[in-house]
């Protein structure tokens, strides 16, 4: 039973990853892009936990913890960048940020 469940867990992870990828490619609001990246990271963590549950080993959950730490650091820096971008160009449309200084 657990084997079948973890197989379907991998399928669910693939589906969530595809949805997040569609969000990254399809949306131009930078907050939605960050949110979609979170969904993709969550799907990667789900894949690790499913694989760990398949073998009954704790390694999958440990990789999930590392992904969680990475997501927390990424989102703090990313949201600080979003705030900077909003202060500079007064919009959250990522297509508007198309010029560099100098």
């Amino acid at each position: 039973m657990t084997n079948a469940t973890s197989d379907y867990g991998l399928v669910l992870a693939a589906g969530l990853f595809a949805i997040g990828l569609a969000g990254v490619l399809g949306r131009r609001n930078i907050i939605f892009i960050l949110l979609s990246i979170e969904i993709m990271l969550n799907a990667a963590g789900l894949a690790f936990v499913s694989a760990g549950a398949r073998w009954g080993q704790p390694d999958g959950q440990i990789m999930f913890i590392f992904i969680l730490v990475m997501a927390a650091a990424e989102v703090s820096v990313g949201l600080a960048l979003v705030l900077q971008m909003f202060h500079r160009i007064k919009t959250v449309n990522s297509d508007a940020a198309n010029s560099m200084k100098g």
Binding site: M1, T2, A4, T5, S6, Y8, G9, L12, G15, L16, I19, G20, A22, G23, G26, R27, I31, F32, L34, L35, S36, E38, I39, N42, G45, L46, V49, S50, G52, A53, G56, Q57, P58, D59, G60, Q61, I62, F64, I65, F66, L68, V69, M70, A71, A72, A73, E74, V75, S76, V77, L79, A80, L81, V82, L83, Q84, F86, H87, R88, V92
Partner: protein, 169 residues
């Protein structure tokens, strides 16, 4: 158990699709929180209760609160009060509420089940996770702490108010 897994997987997929297709950022955040909670339930069903707790506390709690703060800071300004009044409109809350009620019913059903014993129940306890985390993976824990420190310093540096352009001339 498979039925419970299918229900929470369906809730996760539906709420993720709704999250990336909303026009309003706050609605998208609500649906993303529902998606994360349903993935937490999937973790619980897969036999990873520690990962499920971390998912609820850190992903759905801490990271989403950061998103909410940033959306509030970006959308404040004239018309913000009227916008918040729109957010209080109950029709906008029905979708996430229905999905969350499905998850809550599922959770109560799981808790009310008698504990399964025997070889079927392959639950990886948090004790095993902790032993492995501070045993063979202790270098990874140190690297994670370095990464978090770098994130803290980076967010502090980037979050500072930009100095005025005319003062440094």
């Amino acid at each position: 158990m498979m039925t419970l897994f299918y229900i929470s997987a369906a809730v996760a997929l539906i709420s993720s699709v709704l999250a990336i297709s909303r026009a309003n950022a706050v609605h998208a955040l609500l649906y993303t929180i529902v998606s994360l909670l349903s993935v937490a339930l999937v973790f619980f069903i897969l036999g990873a209760p520690f990962a499920a707790a971390l998912e609820v506390v850190i992903y759905a709690g801490a990271i989403m609160v950061l998103f909410v703060f940033v959306v509030m800071m970006i959308s404040s300004g004239p018309g913000a009060a009227r916008q918040e009044q729109q957010w209080m409109n109950f029709r906008l809350w029905t979708g996430p509420s229905v999905l969350v009620i499905v998850l809550i019913c599922e959770l109560f059903y799981i808790v009310s089940l008698p504990p399964v014993t025997g070889p079927i129940n392959m639950v990886v306890e948090s004790k095993q996770v902790g032993m492995a985390l501070l045993g063979p993976y202790v270098l990874g824990v140190e690297l994670a702490s370095l990464l978090l420190t770098a994130g803290l310093v980076g967010a502090y540096h980037l979050g500072k108010k930009e100095p005025r352009e005319d003062t440094d001339k």
